[in-house]
Amino acid sequence: MESVGSIILYTIVALAMVVFSVLAVTTRKILRAATYLLFTLFAAACVYFMLDYEFLGAVQIAVYAGGIVVLFVFSILLTTHPGRNSEPLASKSRVLGAVASVAMLLVAGYALVSRCALFVAKPALETPTMQQIGESMMSTSEGGYLLPFEAISVLLLACIIGGVVIARKR
């Protein structure tokens, strides 16, 4: 039995997630879309916190909300004339897209709902400590993630170089 507070929190988070993601893809002002995205990301971070993955939530906020959304805002400001709305979408493609998305929602939703395994309550768990996370990330034994970690670091390096090369003025 959860506390009422967590139920309320869940409701808010779920609602925010749904509403803001809908708004993010339907608004015609691109800057607003970025803002709604930010809220959605916060909601996602909240979900991680609710799942007791605090580190993950922190990373979500730091990287996504703090880093990526800022990048978005910068690029929007660089590429859009302020105040100009993007053209309205052709209603045909909007309807088609909506139909397809809803269809997908239905199909996937049915798949989810038909699994009774998913109707379980959250088992008890101690929140993994930073030490645990750090050790398993740096270990090479089973359940260790050193190799992907290093791969990611190489990827990030490549990304930095790539970003510089691509954005460089010729």
Partner: protein, 103 residues
Amino acid sequence: MEIKAIMLLVPALIMFCCGVYGFITRRNMIAILISLELMLNAVDINFAVFNRYLWPDAMEGMFFTLFAIAIAAAETALAIAIIINLYRSAKNIDVRDLNKLKY
């Protein structure tokens, strides 16, 4: 009342579908990128939820999400670099107009 796994998965699914909707209907490249982020996040949530609810002792899902976030950051950074570059040369970031390199 308990918060069951499905209760988290469904909003994530809706979020994903929104991302799909945005991806296939929007024409501004940044908007498309935003939709992409929505989808990624929805998937990330799924990983975490499955990990937490079904295999609470393991940490694969969490790590996967962690790495996915890192990769998403890298990908966004590169994509935005490309978009800005494109904008510089074409003064436009509408995907339908950017077909100079087609065929």
